[in-house]
Amino acid sequence: MSVPQYRKVAALALVAGLGLSLTACSTKSDDDGSDAAGKVTITVDCQPVAAQKELLDNWNADVAEFQKQNPDIVIKSISVGQQCNNPPDFTARLAGGTTTDVFYGYMTDLQQVLDSGQAMDITPYVNKDTVSTWDSVDPALKEVFTDGGKLYGVPVKNYSMGLVYNKTLFQKAGLDVNNPPKTWAEVREAAKKISAADKSVAGYAEYSAGNTGGWHFTSLLYSQGGRVLSEDGKKAAFNSAEGKQVLQNLKDMRYGDDSMGSRQLLQWGDLLTNAAAGKVGMFIGAPDTTQAIVSQFKGKFEDWAVAPLPGQSDLGKGTLGGGEGYFFKKDLTKEQVEAGLKWIAYQKLTPGKGQFDYVRAKPQNYPVGLPQPLLFANGSEAQKQEFDLRKANANVPVENFALFENKQLPIVGEPRDAQAIYAILDSAMSGVLTDPKANVDTLLKTAEEKVNQLLAAGS
């Protein structure tokens, strides 16, 4: 290249580069959400990803319909990934102040959201007039999003865990699909039979990475009657007989019977991928994991049934409950908060609409009829409506979930600093699932030290 030509190219590149970066800048505007025409714009996250095609279509249809009903409101949907709250991304968004105006979070996120100073007190805005079903919403769920008497979030989903099992694999192993295991000893027996019938199948599968190990440990612990933290929340309480029993059960299945498969260090999607491929006999989870197996991982929902969480001597003494909600970003205008609430009320809290639009979901490849989400209080008006609609439009055999629905175990919430504690407990779970020589006592003791230290740091 001769010199003048070279310079021309360089100059062109410079201009092009700067031009591009300027346009890139201008797409980021921090306006107050209302334009000259008086329209209010709000950004909302947790739009389904493209992989969940029908869910995404439903969401987009909801947005279109909502905007038609409310011509002054513009909803900008943002999809943040398969898991709407991947803890490090969530932390980064909070710390960077880049959350959407109305943002998704787990029930366990309240403390972190408050620490970041990103959430708004929405107490004055939320009532029966802005959210018509508000009085039907389970008060326990409202409590989860309340701190110091102030409400910071709106619950939109609630789950509790049970034993999810594959009926086809049960039949193959000669097990009675209508009489799933009620105790961990029975789970162990069943897992052994399932793995014996097909060597490539894990009779029982369990998480041990990406915080999901700690999450399931917590549920298993609740089934034993144990707790993660002491009553006052200041000390770890899982290094107990119950905690040891949890790990011992897993160790016996993994190395005593070899009925948990050789693939470990699983996290959320890994286990569900295996389950969808027909390689998992049982695991613990909420009924909606079967939805993920079907819609994201291409499994078949007629395979799956859910039973109450087993316990040591009888059914579980308790089960883990959790859920999701939406927070409102600080500094929103009054109009934006109202618009956001209206959207959530429409899409998440109205029987027959949005997530409860069972008529629309029935013909889709998406299970309807699951006893989920347990959003409305028992006996409330909205709960009855939702229940009738669900029964009328169920597209899965309701009996697959009857056992679970008919025997509600006491629900225990997640501990404070849940995600950080789960990260620590992952290593106890991975220890017992990958090391035949792992010492249950040592694993729990190390985890206990770490958690105590974490709690001391947080206070």
Binding site: A92, G117, A209, T446, Q453
Partner: protein, 305 residues
């Protein structure tokens, strides 16, 4: 930014010093862009990191807490494990990732055929996005069942199989293997270039003195490439001490029983999982001190003789 800054002529200043001022200003005008970037993203964060490590921020309120963050970080049972793992990885990567490329380069340099092909092959993995290469290892190569590539090969050869990332003892070697495969191309190229600069006369003379191949490598090749070897060793150590993406993807972070936890991952975990940026900053300062001490010792040793 490239236009020479205008200068006001000041009374009582000689033309010569005025010219000098103008030249200085021109020089600084050329520097300003880079200096600002250094100031914002290097010098200021250094100070900020140090300050942060003695503070604590909760609900928007920042307080001074003395050595609390450091004490908490050191008390973390993962702290020493992370250092042990990081040193282990660095050492193993030094043996494998440093010696292997050197010998590959020596061998390649002897070939008169297929040299270009081999060079491209070695460099090819460097071109993959790191996440691509690591998912390949994670899902296919290191699958702990016998459906995994490595285990299938081992079974085929009637060798014992391994659980790879699930085995606390294999975690580190497996990460070193993946990391070396991914990254050795760059080092091989640099060695090849420096090997080509060795004068043939030196080998000729050594051969006449009766030196065999190994003796020639020891007495000619290594001394002649010593500077580049020392430089690359240093760079590699600093790079491997920051081990992060390998544990994150291959071992889902901590691996089994903390067998993959590295210091860098611990920084990430404190900062972004445990919502403890101050603790993470303290750990960063500790890492800096360790690396600085190491560099000082290394420089001292390598300049001594």
């Amino acid at each position: 930014m490239t236009a020479p800054a205008p200068v006001k002529a000041e009374a009582g200043v000689s033309p010569k010093s005025r010219r000098k001022i103008r030249d200085n200003l021109t020089g600084h005008a050329f520097l300003i862009g880079a200096v600002l970037c250094f100031a914002l993203f290097m010098w200021y964060p250094m100070i900020r990191g140090l300050v942060m490590s003695f503070q604590r921020t909760r609900r928007g309120v920042t307080t001074w807490v003395g050595w609390d963050n450091y004490l908490r970080i050191i008390d973390d049972p993962s702290f020493w494990v992370a250092w042990k793992n990081t040193f282990y990885f660095t050492g193993l990567a030094l043996i494998v990732g440093f010696a292997v490329p050197f010998f590959v380069a020596i061998v390649l340099n002897e070939f008169r055929h297929a040299k270009g092909y081999l060079r491209v092959l070695v460099y090819l993995p460097v071109m993959l996005p790191p996440a691509s290469a690591l998912f390949l290892f994670k899902y296919y190569a290191y699958d702990p069942s016998e459906a995994g590539l490595f285990n299938a090969i081992l079974t085929f050869l009637h060798l014992p199989t391994s659980e790879w990332m699930q085995s606390p003892t294999m975690t580190m070697p497996a990460m070193v293997l993946a990391s070396t495969w991914m990254n050795m191309g760059g080092a091989v190229l640099i060695y090849l270039a420096s090997l080509q600069n060795i004068s043939g006369d030196l080998y000729e003379a050594a051969e006449l003195d009766g030196a065999g191949i190994w003796k020639r490598i020891w007495h000619v090749t290594i001394p002649q490439t010593r500077l580049i070897l020392a430089l690359l060793a240093m760079m590699q150590i600093v790079a491997t001490m920051q081990l992060f993406i390998e544990p994150l993807i291959l071992a889902n972070g901590a691996g089994t029983q903390d067998s993959a936890t590295s210091v860098a991952y611990l920084i990430y975990q404190h900062g972004f999982f445990q919502n403890d940026l101050n603790g993470a900053a303290a750990l960063g300062v500790i890492m800096l001190v360790v690396l600085a001490a190491f560099s000082a010792v290394y420089l001292r040793l390598s300049t001594k003789d």
